[in-house]
Symmetry: C2
Subunit: 213 residues, 2 copies
DNA sequence: CGTTGCATGTAAGGTGTTACATGATTAC
DNA sequence: GTAATCATGTAACACCTTACATGCAACG
């Protein structure tokens, strides 16, 4: 362990109230990753693709990029995560003058933020994916309603899936070959496979319901 | 609208603090569905398969049945939802004497609970599925770490998926043909398709990473 | 002249988790 | 005897959302 580290600091780093930290991390502290919520790292990670972004822009990027394989956080939460990240020293903000507009606050990832993030990316255990499949939940209790109502719900789900697939294929195509996009096209392809599985399943269910209902 | 219904009651029913309700629902109020969280309906729905269950048993059933297509709530939350459900009159509890053990409290769905649930099952809009795919999120930021670490994470995910698939296939096989299981085998088959899509995607990613890393 | 987009936030409260407390029974 | 399972809960708090407030600029 490095120079600036004592038990007191460690306790504060790994306790939940990191918001009350007055000291920032030093590189010496980086033997372990502090327990920031995954959302904080997700926001932090968006700053590693080479652009300094404002809270507002981050919201847009989050919506555009993780929408289909992670949920996208509410805008108010992004601002809150940014505040926390700045307090622990993982990002730095700077005012960017805008023509004829109030300034915007752009965030840059710091070296120490980058290290913490890299550590988190490879850290284990990785939580298992969490799926909250509302249409499947409706089917699970489908014995309580008319099959025709179930089919309606399923068909809406199918058409929403097709839109999602279109979107994913477009995004993947647009980014493949782009040096700065990292593994994101690969992630979009992966997400597309998941959604195609969902589609196959939903169509199987519809077929089952129509041939005996 | 029915006899016992006035604006005041409506406001209380559709406001969030249904916990403070002193009046219970009557069947007349059932033209619409109150905004209970999906979790409450999920718990309520488990009581429609013909068994009266205790909080403890419900936790087990939830874990066993929706684990793979919905998340399973913490035990403490199940107890809280049951309390709420009883307060609005959707379930009734009765003490069941246990040999040589403290009594357990078994819950039964009421007629009005059943109506509310049926209404909810067919109500729209149905929320889109929410996926929080942690391994995919790691890959999304994979440009920050060694590819070998990514492959490790992916391979662990693959083996976890295979267990899930085994589990789903077993459950589907066990329940197919069982009159009392409703559509649940169909849901398990659907979930299996989703997980097979995930598997296909993860294997594609691994192949991609190994052939150029 | 109203709506949409950019941009940043606060207030309030719902949703869900972890950790703990309790107590008896069964199994090793 | 000590661990695991059955069984029920409370306390504390992390996480996240909705709704609102603000202000300016551009579009039609």
């Amino acid at each position: 362990m490095g120079s600036g580290l004592n038990l007191n600091i460690l306790l504060r780093i790994f306790s939940y109230d990191y918001l009350s930290l007055t000291n920032r991390y030093t590189i010496d502290d980086m033997n372990a990753t502090p327990s920031l919520p995954a959302t904080a790292y997700a926001v932090l990670g968006l700053l590693t693709f080479g652009h300094d972004l404002s809270g507002y822009e981050l919201r847009g990027w989050a919506q555009g990029s993780f929408r289909h394989f992670y949920w996208s956080p509410a805008q108010s939460q992004i601002y809150r995560e940014l505040k926390k990240l700045e307090e622990v020293g993982f990002v730095e903000s700077s005012a960017v003058p805008q023509a004829d507009r109030p300034d915007k606050t752009a965030y840059t990832i710091t070296e120490i933020g980058r290290r913490a993030l890299s550590h988190w990316v490879a850290s284990k255990p990785v939580d298992r994916p969490v799926l909250k499949h509302h249409p499947a939940m409706r089917l699970f209790f489908g014995h309580l309603v008319e099959p025709s109502l179930l089919i309606e719900i399923l068909e809406e789900h199918v058409s929403s899936l097709m839109q999602t697939l279109d979107d994913l294929e477009m995004q993947s195509a647009a980014l493949t070959g782009d040096e700065t996009s990292g593994f994101s096209p690969l992630v979009f392809d992966w997400a597309a496979e998941i959604h195609r599985g969902d589609l196959r399943g939903a169509e199987m269910v519809i077929k089952h319901l129509t041939t005996r209902g």
